[in-house]
Symmetry: C2
Subunit: 297 residues, 2 copies
């Protein structure tokens, strides 16, 4: 079994905190150092035994064998630049960002010739609750972590990153940063923006109180992700802009077409959309991925 | 305590079946008669003790003290016309449809001078699972039922309808059919169509298999309602068309505005939408309706 002597968690929220707890439970980490903007939050992380102690970023970078950056993605460029001069030669750097091309570009600038030490990672384990109090050693159990390695990564660095996420209970898959950003613009970033927009639309109405009084479980689940962390999702929208705009345009087009079917009372085509959706959902929930088209390869 | 000697449930699915079970559990019903299109489904309902026996619609109408029509709404005009000649003078007729102006209009035609016996009802307790196997005596516990009485209803008929739904565990509220259809176009019908459209959009892509392979819990909850009953929702879309089109237009406009904020990388306004949505969601989940605007009265 591998062991990380000392890990630095930069941004000790749901993701950073859960990683710390999962690695502690797996018994593969020595000391956990927390780094963050908010002293109260770091104190809470220490009280909850998520971290062993807090210190500043440069100090943490100088002594850590592994650094996990689990902040909103637009904080990462400054973090890469700060840690770069201090990094131990064999330290592994990972992020946990929901976008990857932007993070890789920032790492190339900030880490410069130390880019080989950076293995980009995206644990697919979001929740709409944020903060270290929500951290959970079991968060990654059965979840996916996507790695988007850079060409400079030696195989040992990628293997180490994989081992860390597997120790957290996740399965690990690798793909290009471009493929990652396109896939998650569709299945994650777009739905988040759609949910944020719907709740804000209703909350801004003169009869908002009545609307929310009669909103039921369907609305609650549809908009669960509209309770997500605003700063984190602002950064994702900004940093995966091109892929997200493409998805928004496709969805606006799709909804426009659906609107026309309703306007024309086209019963057969309305039901066809719903039936295809119903069947896709049922097959997906049953775990039958072979049901779906796979003509992209 | 009131008692219904004999209730006829027309359409023994999730809603009809759950009502039968709830009334049986409350001990306020004598015999439950099931009426439906599908013999196998009625046999299952009998096997599950949801109904005591099945019979045809005209016969059921002739002997029932209460008739609950829990079919997709576009089946209701024919059902009203069939039951009208057979109705007992003191029988109460209710529906459980998700749209109300259309059902009231159909009842006026089908029931004609017996319209006073019809109290329109909408139990707000949908699930994405359909069929009698999903019927649950506790489905209505803590849920709302909206009544949209017609001017002809005597107070006793409305009181009887209220008592029945209260016996099922629900709270009962009355409003106009117009108000009902506008509210539910927003908080229920629109989100269903948005979810159906999103799942169908991805299911139709050449890389659908990859998209569904990486879709996670946020997508699962956002699209839970995309697994709903296609025929039922087709009928809702057709029968609440005007209100739904108005909501679709407002949402398409809202998403278009959000798209422009992303296209312009307007960090402050993107975060503002997300923060307002986050705060509205938190207050709603906390049950604080006073947080919301109420300028419509």
């Amino acid at each position: 079994m591998f062991k990380i002597e000392r890990i630095a968690i930069v941004g000790v929220g749901l993701i950073g905190g859960s990683t710390a707890l999962a690695l502690k439970r797996a018994g593969v980490v020595g000391e956990v150092i927390g780094v963050g903007r908010n002293a109260a939050s770091l104190a809470e992380a220490k009280r909850l035994n998520v971290i062993d102690r807090a210190c500043d970023l440069a100090e943490a970078a100088a002594i850590a064998d592994c650094i996990l950056i689990a902040t909103p993605v637009r904080q990462m460029p400054a973090i890469f630049a700060t840690v770069a001069p201090h990094l131990k030669a064999n330290a592994l750097v990972m992020d946990a960002g929901s976008t990857k091309q932007d993070v890789v570009a920032a790492a190339r600038i900030g880490l410069d010739h130390k880019i080989a030490q950076f293995v980009p990672a995206h644990p697919i384990a979001g929740r709409e609750i944020a903060g270290v109090a929500a951290a959970d050693a079991a968060l990654y159990k059965g979840k996916k972590v996507v790695l988007t390695p850079v060409v400079e990564n030696p195989p040992e660095a990628i293997a180490r990153a994989e081992a860390i996420w597997r120790a957290c209970g996740a399965t690990v898959q690798a793909m290009s940063a471009e493929a990652h950003d396109a896939i998650f613009a569709a299945v994650s970033h777009l739905p988040h923006l759609l949910a944020f927009a719907l709740v804000d639309e209703f909350a801004g109405r003169p009869n908002a109180k009545t609307l929310f009084a009669f909103a039921a479980s369907g609305f609650r689940d549809f908009t669960r992700i509209a309770g997500s962390h605003p700063e984190m999702w602002r950064d994702i929208a900004l940093n995966n802009r091109e892929a997200l705009l493409a998805e928004m345009d496709l969805y606006i087009k799709k909804i426009g077409q659906f609107r026309e079917l309703v306007a024309q009372s086209d019963a057969a085509q309305i039901e066809a959309v719903m039936q295809r959706s119903h069947d896709a959902k049922a097959n997906w929930l049953a775990g039958d991925l072979e049901y779906f088209r796979d003509e992209s390869v």
